[in-house]
Amino acid sequence: MKVIKKLAGPLVVPLSYFFQRPITVQYPDERLVVPKGYRGHPLFTLENCIACRACERACPVNTIQIDMEIKPDGRRIMYGYYLDLGRCLFCGFCADACPTGAIVMGPKLELMEWKREELVYDIRKFQKLKKELRWKPEKPVKRSACAHPENCIGCMFCVETCPVNAISVTTVGDERVLRIDPTVCSGCGMCVKNCPTFALTMTEYAETEYSEYER
């Protein structure tokens, strides 16, 4: 009896599989659905970009290259955005670093090209990809900078590093007054990163008002 059970046991499993549907997917004809929140390749859009170059700095393999110019009046003008997918590690640091959600990790799986040069994505190519994926970037409402004025030593680092010139310092008599304009601030976090005394933090965009801090 035991022998029969032992011999018949292996026969049951294949037969049960025989009546199930196959789990393989005929790839070019049918495709698996990419799960929500899938982190594939970097996907860039010009809509939200403030040209803060956070992604360029965050990239561990220097695959992002931004051609831009800072005008004397503080405007940042971008001439070109290049991302070489041939070098990209798909680590997602650029998407983490982006303050405005202008770069996210996309869901496309087939990124092969005939030539290596075609793997370098510029703004036009990213626009095409965006249209193909029907991606609607979210408006940046998340972050903005404000201050703990008691810590500030007035070193001016934040003023120098702010990519959108939202921070300004004026000297009123003996005191220095730090002003952050929330309508200009894009919340890139550069000032928070550079502040040596942790005087600056990030808050919700909705909470911030026009802020003026005295030292």
Binding site: P10, L11, V13, P14, L15, Y17, P22, T24
Partner: protein, 362 residues
């Protein structure tokens, strides 16, 4: 010659004799027609081989949650023509003999294996009137030819001058010899019940009850020995991939390899057909239901028996594929121990059982 006794081909035969007789003489016409008949038999076997290859890959795939071959072939029978594609590919490959190989035996080996399979197919009753060669001693002929196959396999293994081939060939020979004996004893027990060594008579004597009901032990033993003689999965030791690359087929390529593979599937079909003929009532129905077939027009009845036979054969083939999907591989010493220490005494017991059953039935 006997296919022309079937109600479908008989009018064709008569007409052909009338036309060809005056031109090339009666003997010449008969020779020509028997040549055509043997081509028909081979065609039937090869069509079945094609379907078995497809079924094997498809069912094996489904039993592993895969799909098996998908693209080549008509809709609803996806992948059916995959075997044809493989065959054409093997046909177009280079004709190649290893430098140190024994040329003559290297070529004869696969041919012998294919010949043995096809020659057994000549004797198998496919349907009413569809017997290639009627002979009173056809079971003995089949047993003799079945033992020719290991000879071919051994020639393949010896001639290629490769250690894997040699070991595979020797293993095949050892395996086939040790399983020949139980198989023959089981076949003889069935022949004893039928009172004849004619495979046709054995099949026809089961019109009331199939021998699988009288000799269940014998049927099981024969199934096991069939697996061993076909070198299929629990006993696929001669071509154990993980040990012997491809066993006796290691040095074969192109059409030689194709012939060996074809021979394997021919043997699968033919031995399944033999199992059906000896234990599952051949092309007939059990419990005297064959009388119902006689009410049909003779041509249709003949075709129905052909269909019944193939349905039974494919049930056995499905069983073989199922076993392949389910089981592990035996070690060579386990295999020989099973053959000589278990199956041989059990087949003797089965013979005694058959004699007792003969006494009770008569």
């Amino acid at each position: 010659m006997s296919w022309y006794e079937s109600p479908i081909l008989q009018p064709v035969y008569v007409k052909a004799m009338e036309v060809l007789g005056p031109i090339i003489g009666r003997t010449g016409a008969q020779l020509l027609l028997s040549l055509i008949e043997s081509i028909l038999i081979i065609a039937l076997i090869f069509i079945n081989v094609l379907i078995i290859v497809w079924l094997e890959r498809k069912i094996l795939g489904r039993m592993m949650n895969r799909r098996g071959p998908v693209y080549a072939g008509p809709p609803l029978l996806w992948g059916l023509f995959q075997a044809i594609a493989d065959f054409l590919k093997l046909m177009t490959k280079e004709f190649f003999i290893p430098r140190r190989a024994d040329r003559l035996t290297y070529i004869i080996g696969p041919a012998l294996v294919v010949f043995a399979g096809l020659a057994i197919g000549l004797m198998v009753p496919f349907g009413e009137g569809f017997v290639g060669l009627k002979n009173e001693a056809s079971l003995i002929y089949i047993i003799a030819l079945a033992s020719l196959e290991p000879m071919g396999v051994m020639l393949c293994g010896l001639s290629a001058n490769n250690k894997f081939s040699l070991m595979g060939g020797m293993r095949a020979a050892a395996q086939m010899i040790s399983y020949e004996l139980p198989a023959v004893l089981v076949l003889i027990s069935a022949a004893l019940l039928a009172g004849s060594v004619d495979i046709l008579e054995i099949a026809e004597s089961q019109s009331q009850i199939w021998y699988v009901a009288i000799l269940p032990l014998g049927a099981l033993l024969y199934l096991i020995t069939v697996l061993a003689e076909l070198e299929r999965t629990p006993f696929d030791i001669p071509e154990a991939e993980s040990e012997l690359v491809a066993g006796f087929m290691t040095e074969y390529g192109g059409m030689f390899y194709g012939m060996l593979m074809a021979a394997h599937y021919i043997s699968v079909f033919v031995t399944s057909a033999l199992f059906v003929a000896v234990f599952l009532g051949g092309y007939g129905l059990p419990f005297g239901l064959n009388a119902a077939l006689e009410m049909l027009p003779p041509a249709l009845a003949s075709l129905t028996t052909l269909l019944i036979f193939h349905v039974k054969v494919y049930i056995v083939v499905f069983l073989l594929i199922w076993i392949r999907a389910a089981y592990f591989r035996f070690r060579i010493d386990q295999l020989l121990e099973l053959g000589w220490k278990r199956l041989f005494p059990l087949s003797l017991l089965n013979l005694v059982w058959a004699i007792a059953a003969l006494g009770v039935l008569s």
